[in-house]
């Protein structure tokens, strides 16, 4: 296991204060008989993008869910040095975490504007950040979210969490199922957002990771097996294959 | 191997032996039974309690063991009961034939209803309420993976439960000397649900205990209210407490909260705790 302190030192990029915004200690998750997470520990630096990687089914999505309390778990979770593992999900979210789930989970029966007004009742689609990063959504404000394309729904899902001030964003496979052009668009948005808000990103798309991630945390068999700089990992094909196998997408643009 | 089987059957054999002997017991059990144990009042009460217990067991096959939340079990019980009385009185069939007719038609009904019910239930299991059921019973996908044909298992459960229910209805009519329209109601099915959960869903003794206690309480609690315990309480409270179903309903809510595994589940826990110390 790579020494985590040196990885964090390397991750203290210009603009970052070197501290961590989110810290997970000894996280265990048991789902009906199977021990999915067996003592996962890592920290998310207070700036930049941290990619959470691993083979299919290893527990990446479960980790994100466990952090915000949507999966039954034990362990310590600290958000900006404050313990949050005993709080209910809504309180954790309001404490400053934005969660973008796998499969987007927009409310299909609600319009784009209504989806956003759930989080920002006064402005909805008129919020400045929507106009800045998602101009297409402004045009589609009255369109029912269920009729949007996958890429557009992903934008709604991202916009939702950007309407509130957050300390960290948990984003789960935002480019899944998207065409290369859309992957690039999502990557652009994520890079832009990461300038002000740290992101813990679950992704299978290696080129995307190479482009926008600063640090990586790799899971295998329910535990963290590697922590380090993203550039180093991606540059080492042998290490990549050893840790991630062939399940990582090599094509698909970034 | 043989000794294990007979050991398991031992409690049932003992209970049956005791029950068979009861009509010869002339003792009085004041408060618990009206009159002597082998008097007509007590025997009728015990007989009805046992029939209801049996019907509760038939419901447990469908709900407790297979996890299918049935709201229409009354259909099978009523079919058995009414078909028997109609066969006997309107068609003047001899008893054995009447019983066969009732059972036969009830089985047919079970197959038809089971078939339709299965279609609905498969889809229900995938809905939100169904996921809750999966939390109580074995996960259907897991069962399918293990090689069990879930369709056949469910249909079998429905038919077995229905036929047993119909049989219970037949005996019910015999014990009561006629068919009681109460067994056709949704309230009756819900009462069976309560009995099974009260005693412990998925457990044979649980369903029997729940059914027996429910009917016993329903029949005997009325006596209690007349006994004068409650005279000191205000009228409204007296009126409410004199309704056995009120007390049963309240007790049921408490059980659901604090002992969802039912009375037998509670008993099991106490036994385990006793062994541990």
């Amino acid at each position: 296991m790579t020494d985590m302190t040196t990885a964090l030192d390397r991750a203290a990029a210009p603009g970052g204060d070197g501290g961590s915004v989110l810290s997970v200690e000894d996280l265990h998750v048991r789902y009906g008989g199977s021990h999915v997470l067996q003592g996962v520990s890592f920290t998310v630096p207070a700036s930049g993008v941290t990619a959470l990687l691993g083979r299919n089914g290893v527990g990446k999505t479960t980790t994100l869910k466990a952090i915000i309390g949507l999966a039954p778990r034990t362990g310590r979770i600290l958000l900006q040095d404050k313990e949050i593992q005993d709080e209910p999900t809504t309180r954790i979210i309001r404490g400053g975490i934005g969660y973008v789930p796998e499969d987007r989970e927009v409310f299909g029966g609600l319009t784009v504007d209504e989806n956003l007004r759930l989080v920002d009742p006064d402005r909805g689609v008129e919020a400045p950040i929507v106009g800045r990063l998602f101009p297409d959504l402004v045009a589609r404000a009255k369109q029912r979210a269920g009729t949007l394309s996958g890429g557009q729904q992903q934008m709604v899902s991202l916009a939702r969490v950007l309407l509130k001030d957050t300390s960290v964003l948990l984003i789960d496979e935002p480019t899944k199922g998207l065409a290369p052009k859309l992957v690039t668009e999502v990557a652009d948005v994520l890079s832009e957002v990461a300038r002000t808000t740290p992101i813990l990103l679950v992704e299978q798309n290696l080129p995307l990771v190479r482009r926008i991630a600063d640090t990586v945390v790799v899971l295998d068999a329910g535990q963290v097996v590697h922590c380090g700089g993203a550039a180093e990992l991606v540059a080492d094909p042998e290490l990549t294959r050893e840790l991630l196998g062939v399940s990582m997408r090599r094509e698909g643009a970034a | 191997m043989r000794t294990a089987v007979s050991l398991k059957a031992l409690p049932a054999i003992i209970v049956l032996a005791v029950l068979a002997y009861l009509p010869y017991v002339p003792i009085e059990v004041p408060g618990l039974l009206p009159g002597r144990v082998n008097g007509p009042g007590s025997l009728q009460l015990l007989a009805t309690c046992l029939v209801i217990a049996g019907i509760a067991l038939s419901y447990d096959v469908i709900f407790g063991r297979t996890g299918l939340l049935s709201f229409g079990h009354a259909l099978f019980v009523a079919a058995g009961s009414y078909l028997l009385t109609i066969s006997l009185s309107n068609w003047a069939l001899p008893l054995p034939v009447a019983i066969l007719v009732s059972l036969g038609v009830t089985t047919l009904l079970a197959l038809v209803v089971g078939g339709i019910a299965f279609v609905v239930v498969t889809l229900l299991v995938r809905s939100r309420a169904g996921h809750a059921m999966a939390a109580v019973r074995e996960n259907e996908a897991r069962a399918a993976v293990l090689g069990f044909d879930t369709y056949r298992v469910k249909l079998l459960a429905i038919v077995v439960g229905a036929v047993l229910g119909g049989l219970g209805g037949i005996v019910h009519a015999l014990v009561l000397g006629g068919s009681n329209p109460h067994v056709t109601t949704t309230e009756f099915t819900l009462a069976l649900l309560i009995m099974v959960v009260l005693g412990g869903a998925g457990s044979m003794w649980g369903a029997l205990l729940g059914g027996f206690l429910y009917h016993y309480a329903d029949a005997r609690l009325v006596e209690l209210s007349g006994a004068g315990f409650l005279d000191a309480l205000p009228d409204v409270v007296q009126q409410v407490l004199s309704e056995p179903l009120f007390i049963l309903g309240l007790f049921f809510i408490i059980i659901v909260y604090f002992a969802p595994a039912g009375l037998t589940g509670l008993g099991g826990r106490l036994i385990r705790r006793g062994r541990a110390t």
Binding site: G109 | A132, L190, I194, V240
Partner: protein, 294 residues
């Protein structure tokens, strides 16, 4: 033609009652996943609250005025009971769906028994305003006036609920929550408050349904809620759980089918036809049990 008008109005009138009974049930199940078996008890509470109010008010007031007061009292009583039941019995069992259902079954058993103990099992006659008890001639058909009131009330409730759902923040949260309650929580919105309000609203609607149903039947009894509840469930399943428009359409359909069958076949065939309709809908559209969320 006269037959058609008669069946239409009586069917719509009945459908109106079914809608009132089913609307709360539908939203409660759609949003919270709770099959509220105590809904019948809420209806019973409304009918008895109305009965007692009308009896308690001075006889110098007209029956219609006392009925109007009774409606207000029933609405408040229903809301309070819904609120208390949700906070005390349902909320502690959050995410334990089966236990929540069982608790409502126990509650319905206990409350019906309690009502029986206090007021007796026999139906008691309710006072009905003269206008409602009489009929109006329309296109040759003799139409009972109370049906018109039921239709107007149901329409008002429908429009009111639609407005709530589409123009208020509460309604937005309900619509989102019916689709995906977990995601609403994952956005930091406290659904528990919404649950309580929805249960209170459902209780209110149920109480109103119970009161109007007792006017329709001319009597009030502890068992009334139970019989209306079955139809409410059927309407909710046919209409799609969590969908208000679906519930409205289904309620009208059930009411009309029932009246048609009762009129042209025999009394009682109506009930059977409704069940057949339910079976048909379930077989043709299997997602009926899923609610609005796929």
């Amino acid at each position: 033609m006269t037959d058609f008008v008669l069946i239409l109005v009586t069917g719509l009138g009945l459908g109106a009652l079914y809608f009132l009974a089913a609307s709360g049930l539908s939203i409660i199940y759609g949003l919270m996943g709770v099959l509220n078996f105590a809904h019948g008890a809420f209806m019973m509470a409304g009918s008895y609250a109305g009965f007692l109010t009308m009896g308690a008010l001075p006889a110098s007031l007209s029956v219609a005025a006392r009925l109007a007061m009774a409606v207000l009292v029933a609405l408040v009583v229903g809301a309070v009971i819904g609120f208390v039941v949700e906070v005390v019995l349902i909320r502690p069992l959050y995410r334990h769906h089966i236990q929540q259902v069982l608790v409502t079954v126990g509650l319905s058993l206990a409350s019906v028994a309690a009502a029986q103990g206090i007021w007796g099992a026999d139906p008691r006659t309710v006072e009905k305003p003269e206008w409602m008890a009489s009929t109006t001639m329309l296109l040759g058909a003799r139409l009972p006036n109370d049906r018109f009131l039921f239709i107007v009330v149901a329409l008002a409730v429908f429009l009111g609920l639609q407005a709530l759902l589409h123009y208020t923040r509460l309604g937005l949260i309900i619509r989102a929550g019916v689709e995906n309650r977990t995601m609403v929580e994952a956005l930091g919105i406290n659904v528990h408050r919404t649950f309580t309000i929805v249960f209170a609203l459902g209780g209110s609607a149920a109480a109103l349904a119970g009161l109007l149903y007792s006017q329709y039947a001319g009597t009030v009894s502890p068992a009334q809620g139970g019989s209306l509840l079955i139809y409410a469930f059927i309407v909710v399943v046919i209409g799609g759980m969590g969908s208000l428009v679906g519930t409205a359409v289904a309620a009208v359909a059930v009411g009309l089918v029932q009246q048609l069958a009762n009129f042209y076949a025999a009394s009682g065939v109506g009930d059977l036809s409704v069940v057949l309709l339910l079976a048909l809908v379930l077989l043709l559209r299997p997602t009926s049990m899923k609610g609005a969320h796929a």
